[in-house]
């Protein structure tokens, strides 16, 4: 059921170069299981996950609370081990490495934790500098670099504080700074922005994008916020109950979600349900639901229908979203007029929009 980029809609897929070829895979999940023993039988946090994260891509995983996202991301840097299957980081099975090898592999990654996990007794600056200190960087240099990164995340003036003196969002940004201070090859984000307000989120997303573009860092993002996927990711996988239920380019999943759960997430950005307000109008005439991509969005569709096809058009619902470099629109219109003109309008729309369907009472 996971789809490959091959059948994705628009021409230029924004997926990272060379995706799909095993050589360019940064992280490969190969039939991964994770079971927890529990009084009442086993709990399956991961239930046979197979997934390739292309090198240099920004890859998002979305799913409901408890779907297994944190469990999945913790496999990538060996914090957790599969009870079945393999996780390959740059082609290496982490479980096969000796301790020193595992540590070397971990040093190529950076991780932002859902619950921050900062040292409470150490200044913000020293928290951020810590990974460098581990590498033997001189304290001065490590601190200087930490200050640089703190500036990046908008905490230039908070270096001297202890985490306990920061707000929730500030703590999260310290965690982000710590994760990127080493310029990791793979950056793992577990809800990296869930404690942040939208404008800080936007900044952080900008920052992550810049890191990806500048250093080719593979970013593996686990989140419950579709906005993060929309603005940041190239590919997205949808998780449910420990399984990947859908997978494709972000645009693809947004425009044509295949599963109900994907549709629900997409709906938080581009509503998929028909607002109650609109439903009141069902029966007044034909209600059509259109999905538009890119130029279709800015072309004068309504104008054309009215002037060229002589039908009356009322836009009952419309919204638009920028997804990656694409605009995706969604409209529900009521079309009135003589049957033949309405039919002609339908035919014209069919070949001029991404998708069109009649709205019927649910």
């Amino acid at each position: 059921m996971p789809r490959r980029p091959a059948d994705s809609a628009p021409a230029a897929t924004p997926v990272a170069p060379g995706a799909g070829s095993s050589a360019s895979v940064a992280v490969r999940f190969d039939g991964v299981f994770r079971e927890y023993p529990h009084k009442t039988g086993q709990v399956s946090a991961l239930d046979g996950v197979s997934l390739d994260v292309p090198r240099g891509s920004i890859f998002g995983v979305i799913g409901h609370s408890g779907a297994g996202k944190s469990t999945l991301v913790r496999m990538v840097n060996g914090l957790d081990r599969p009870t079945g299957g393999r996780v390959l980081l740059e082609g290496t099975d982490l479980a096969s490495l000796p301790p020193a090898g595992l540590r070397a592999a971990q040093k190529t990654t950076g991780m932002i934790f859902q619950q921050f996990q900062l040292l409470e007794t150490v200044s913000v600056r020293d928290n951020v500098a810590r990974p460098l200190i581990l590498d033997g960087v001189r304290r001065r240099d490590a601190r200087a670099r930490a200050d640089e990164v703190l500036e990046f995340v908008g905490l230039a003036d908070k270096g001297d504080r202890r985490p306990g003196e920061l707000s929730g969002g500030q703590k999260q940004r310290v965690g982000i700074a710590r994760a990127i201070v080493r310029n990791p090859q793979v950056l793992l984000c577990d809800e990296a922005t869930s404690a942040l307000d939208p404008s800080t989120t936007t900044q952080i997303i900008e920052l992550l994008r810049r890191i990806n573009a500048t250093y080719g860092t593979t970013i593996f993002v686990v989140t419950h916020e579709m906005d993060v996927i929309k603005d940041l990711c190239h590919e997205v996988a949808v998780m449910s109950d420990g399984r990947i239920v859908e997978h494709g380019t972000v645009l693809d999943v947004f425009v044509r979600p295949q599963t109900e759960i994907a549709e629900a997430f997409v709906g938080t950005v581009v509503p998929h349900t028909i607002p109650a307000r609109v439903l009141k109008h069902v029966g007044d005439g034909d209600l059509w639901r259109l999905r538009l991509i890119d130029d279709e969005v800015t072309s004068p569709l309504v104008s054309t229908l009215i002037t060229e096809y002589g039908v009356a058009v009322n836009i009952l619902h419309a919204d638009m979203a920028e997804i990656q470099q694409h605009t995706v629109g969604h409209m529900i219109i009521r079309v009135d007029g003589p049957a033949d003109r309405v039919a002609a309008a339908w035919t014209w729309l069919e070949s001029n929009v991404a998708s069109i369907e009649k709205v019927t009472t649910p």
Partner: protein, 222 residues
């Protein structure tokens, strides 16, 4: 006392023994703390589920700690006389007292260190591991700073226990304030010596506790 003299001990003697107490305390605390921390750390990392889980090392150390802690100090002192002689060339005097003091305090500190380290939230260790920290680094760079407050309190508790143990060190002719309290205050019924020495001990312990608490509070400040 006899001749009606007020007390049996002289100021000189008092200050000499005070010096001896600090000497025994200082040296055995120094070595005891180093050994204790090492023991505590090894126990924590080798315990089942630890960073370097190793059933054998863990069990051996755990049992060793318990053995040393089981034996009454006076018996430990006698039992390790050959070892003491090997190390410092004699079995008597302050230098010789330091050996059993260290041997008895190290596993105790080890146990307290273990307890402190186990209190550090698991997430901190995880964060450290995610950065590829070695077990040693996990300890020095993550657990140690986070557990610092409770470690200081543990060391404080141990140091105070050590003050008590130095009193017993009088048995090997080591002297010290505690021995003065027992030999003169208790055995020779010298009330003044008793008062002075016990008050001195209280002051020493109180000072250690105040300093320890203050340092811990500072380290704990978040």
């Amino acid at each position: 006392m006899t001749g009606g003299s007020f007390t049996l001990i002289t100021a000189d003697q008092f200050f000499k023994e005070l010096g001896v107490t600090f000497y025994m305390l200082g040296v055995s605390l120094f070595f005891g703390a180093i050994l204790g921390v090492i023991i505590g750390v090894i126990v924590v990392v080798t315990r089942p589920g630890g960073a370097l889980a190793n059933r054998v090392v863990y069990t051996v150390l755990d049992v060793f700690i318990n053995i040393v802690r089981s034996v009454p100090f006076i018996i430990l002192l006698v039992a390790i006389i050959p070892f003491t002689r090997l190390l410092v060339g004699t079995s008597i005097g302050p230098a010789a007292a330091i050996v059993p003091l260290t041997v008895s305090i190290a596993p105790y500190i080890g146990r307290l260190v273990e307890n402190s380290l186990l209190e550090v939230p698991h997430g901190i260790t995880e964060a450290a591991r995610s950065m590829g920290a070695t077990p040693l680094q996990i300890f020095t760079r993550f657990l140690l700073p986070e557990a610092r407050g409770s470690l200081i309190l543990a060391l404080t508790t141990a140091t105070i226990g050590l003050v008590d143990a130095t009193a017993m060190a009088g048995t090997v002719g080591a002297g010290g304030i505690g021995d003065l309290a027992i030999s003169y205050g208790y055995q020779r019924f010298d009330g003044f010596a008793m008062l002075v020495t016990v008050v001195t001990l209280i002051i020493i312990v109180q000072t250690i506790q105040i300093v320890g608490s203050r340092l811990a509070r500072r380290a704990r400040r978040r």
